[in-house]
């Protein structure tokens, strides 16, 4: 078990300006465009986004799963003190599964159906340590036990399909932890699971993180899961981070209309919300023909108040308020945003607050778009 370093506030994973592009028949798919964030030891960072936001591609790019394919990956990914983007696939292998490990969404399709679970686990260990099969199997049994699978030793001989969904995901977690990784990347680990099982798995990840000081990067679309697990959040849209910050900051004082839209479109278990939900109209953008200016402008109800900049200049990720650790990407005047959010959650979409903002231009008529089509 790696002891946490004295410099535990230094980021263990640092992603800088990551960009991933795929060639396709219709053109270049710019799946990730200039993404930066950090994960510290013992900390959980959640990447939230919907389909097409680039969150899964990000996690796979960090693991270097695109090496050798036609994808073009630029930028820097620093794992501890090693840069990964320029490493060859062969050099990455010694890191994969040992220093950093990944668990995927669907444990049934992510485990080889023809090999016994014990074999798959032992293999994960033997690839990085020069031990006998017997020793590796011993460790596999210990790991299965640690993740809460009853009769662990007996279950080593079972095949993946013989486990229930929740148990299978535990097997995946056990496999990822075989080599005591310092970074765990979890790509939608509980999306395919029932809610009670999800609760167990998230609790398990938290416990393991607490015991081993692992840095956790969790990809999800479920805001509830984020609220439950995250220390830091990165909100992704259209291949970019549109908001980034501490979990409380982003949940209670979001600063970007997409985040506002996400928060208001999700029904909450504890709220008697009998009014309409507030969905975000329209659909996510094409990553081949990206919209000009702000990638969200076509679906943003506030772009008409800001005017030209929204559809001409792509905003940059700026700290808001200035100097803070909370960053967002939007042309709306910074001082107005908290007010807008408050107005929004009180049901007013076109609040007086905005027109009162000092440098707001004249409202421009809404550009017709297929708002209701989704």
């Amino acid at each position: 078990m790696p002891a946490p370093t004295n410099d535990s506030r230094a980021p263990f994973l640092r992603v800088e300006n990551l960009a991933v592009t795929f060639p396709s028949e219709d053109g270049e798919v710019k799946a990730v465009r200039g993404l930066s964030f950090e994960v510290r030891r013992g900390e959980t960072v959640c990447i939230v986004g919907e389909s097409g936001s680039g969150k899964s591609v990000t996690s796979q790019a960090i693991m270097g799963l695109h090496k050798g394919s036609k994808a073009k990956v630029t930028g820097e990914v620093w794992l501890d003190n090693q840069e990964l983007v320029r490493l060859s696939d062969r050099d990455m292998r010694s890191l994969r599964g040992s220093k950093m490990a990944m668990i995927f969404q669907d444990p049934l399709s992510s485990l080889h159906p023809f090999y016994r679970v014990g074999v798959q686990l032992a293999e994960a260990y033997q690839v990085h340590h020069n031990v006998s099969k017997k020793e590796a199997t011993e460790r596999a049994a210990a790991m299965l036990d640690k993740v809460g699978i009853p009769s662990a030793r007996k279950r080593l001989d079972d095949y993946p399909f013989q486990f229930s969904g929740g148990m299978r995901q535990r097997v995946m977690i056990a496999m990822a932890l075989m080599n005591d990784p310092e970074l765990l990347i979890a790509d939608e680990p509980t999306t395919a699971l029932d809610v009670t099982v999800q609760a167990q798995i998230l609790e398990l990840i938290k416990d393991l993180q607490r015991d081993f000081g692992t840095a956790v990067l969790l990809i999800t679309h479920d805001l509830g899961v984020v609220a439950e697990t995250a220390d830091e959040i990165v909100v992704m849209y259209g291949g970019q981070a549109v908001e980034r910050g501490n979990v409380d900051e982003v949940f209670y004082k979001p600063k970007m209309p997409y985040t506002w839209g996400l928060m208001t479109s999700v029904p909450r278990l504890d709220r008697d919300q009998k009014g309409e939900l507030e969905p975000i109209p329209g659909t996510p953008p094409s990553l081949i023909n990206l919209p000009s200016g702000c990638v969200f402008h076509a679906r943003c109800g506030y772009s008409r108040f800001v005017g030209g900049p929204c559809w001409e200049d792509a905003p940059t990720l700026e700290p808001t308020p200035a100097g803070a650790a909370h960053l967002s990407r939007c042309h709306l005047p910074v001082e107005a945003r908290d007010g807008l959010w408050t107005a929004r959650i009180n049901g007013a979409l076109v609040p007086e607050v905005l027109t009162a903002a000092p440098d707001a231009p004249e409202p421009i008529p809404v550009v017709a778009n297929s708002v209701s089509e989704a």
Partner: protein, 404 residues
């Protein structure tokens, strides 16, 4: 942006308890036989997907049917609409018994009882145009809508928020959310009285889910539709439903008014289920007490004796292991199947209590407890469908349904 937001104040969840009862289900069972045998296949057991459920849906009301995988909610939905043949029990629609109906009477009922499916990618025939899909109900029922089928289709497209000009397009030209709207349009073609929606938003992105949920509510308001809304996402169900029924292993364990149930659940399973749902609020999450159920879901082929939840319940006592608690009304509109319900003053169970209560099941057959498992079917059925032998026919219990 939705300027309708201002109108939301006008849309209130009115009290529908005085409305007439549209759908009444009593003791509904759906068993799938497990066949074994060398030459002649004998039925050696049953997968009791739905094991005696009773519920009522009134006009204009939305009944949410929730539960996790293997609880039988999808099977229940399909059996109510007669896509599957009920093994036992009664289904009364507008007072008329339809569990055993066939032919003409059943077809007539289908005008008023429609279904929306889960997977918008596979529930639309990719070879049919949108117009063909939406107008199919007219053809099947031999009805010509006033103004002609084409006009009706275009009106429906507009109603669900799609461009009426697109009626000649094919499903693959639409996004997931749009396809689901097409499914809704199809269900609405005959202006039904009740729609069973089987996980209609589970396969969609969060922001699109909200659009579809709003659409369904708007249509309900406009046409006085009743819904049976089957889902595993408890937050969505709370939002859209008037009443909620919670299912576990083929049984309904608790039914009640949506708000009342979510605020003061009485059945231990409901309590555990609600405590497991994450809430998008970090403060609440930090201070929350979770009840983490342990143990495995028993197999529906071999449900435990007595109360089906007794193998994981921290309040279980001897009586629970012997007798099955009946679904009784403990307060007006609130039904419960439990001998030792949770009182508001009860403390949450400790981890030790939960561990002691849990029983693990030896898994031999392929078992699945994943939520959005496969297309359109419940996890129970699909667990067997997923691993067929290459030349051997699939175990026949999931093919016994030759209705329609």
């Amino acid at each position: 942006m939705s300027t309708d937001a201002v109108e939301t104040a006008a849309y209130s969840r009115s009290d529908k308890s005085a409305n007439e009862v549209l759908l009444e289900v009593n003791g509904l069972k759906k068993y799938f036989p497990i066949k074994q045998g060398i030459v002649f296949q004998k039925t050696v057991g049953n997968v009791k997907a739905v094991d005696g459920i009773s519920l009522k849906v009134r006009k204009g009301e939305t009944l949410g049917l929730v539960g996790e995988s293997g609880c039988g909610k999808s099977t229940a939905g399909k059996t109510i609409v007669r896509l599957l043949e009920p093994t036992a029990g009664s289904i009364k629609f507008e007072g008329q018994e339809i569990a055993t109906a066939s032919g003409g009477p059943l077809k007539a009922v289908r005008r008023d009882l429609q279904m929306i499916f889960q997977d918008p990618y596979s529930s639309l025939n990719p070879r049919h145009t949108v117009a063909a899909i939406i107008s199919a109900p007219y053809r099947i029922q031999g009805i010509t809508p006033p103004g002609g089928a084409k006009k009706a289709v275009q009106d429906l497209l507009e109603l669900v928020g799609l461009n009426p000009e697109h009626y000649n397009r094919y499903p693959h030209e639409f996004s997931g959310g749009q396809r689901q709207r097409i499914g809704v349009a199809r269900a609405l073609a005959l202006r039904p009285k009740l729609i069973v929606a089987d996980e209609p938003v589970s396969a969609l992105d969060v922001s699109i889910q909200a659009q579809i949920v709003n659409l369904l509510e708007k249509l309900q308001n406009e046409f006085g539709l009743a819904f049976v809304f089957i889902a595993h996402d408890l937050s969505v169900v709370r939002h859209i439903s008037d009443r909620v029924a919670v299912m576990y292993l083929g049984h309904i364990v608790e039914t009640g008014d949506s708000d009342a149930l979510y605020e003061s659940p009485r059945h231990p399973y409901t309590v555990a289920l609600l405590s497991a749902v994450p809430i998008p609020d970090p403060d609440i999450e930090r201070n929350r007490q979770r009840i983490l159920l342990q143990g495995d879901l028993p197999s529906p082929a071999d449900p435990p004796p007595g109360c089906v939840f007794n193998t994981r319940c921290w309040k279980a006592q001897d009586k629970c292991r012997k007798e099955q608690p009946p679904l009784v009304e403990i307060a007006p509109g609130h039904e419960l199947a439990c001998f030792f319900p949770i009182e508001p003053t009860d403390a949450a169970p400790t981890a030790q209590q939960l561990a002691a209560a849990a029983q693990f099941v030896e898994q031999e057959e392929p078992h699945s407890d994943t939520a959005h498992d496969f297309i359109g079917a419940g996890a129970t059925e699909q667990a067997y469908l997923h691993n067929p032998a290459p030349t051997e026919e699939v175990t026949s219990w999931n093919q016994d349904d030759s209705s329609l």
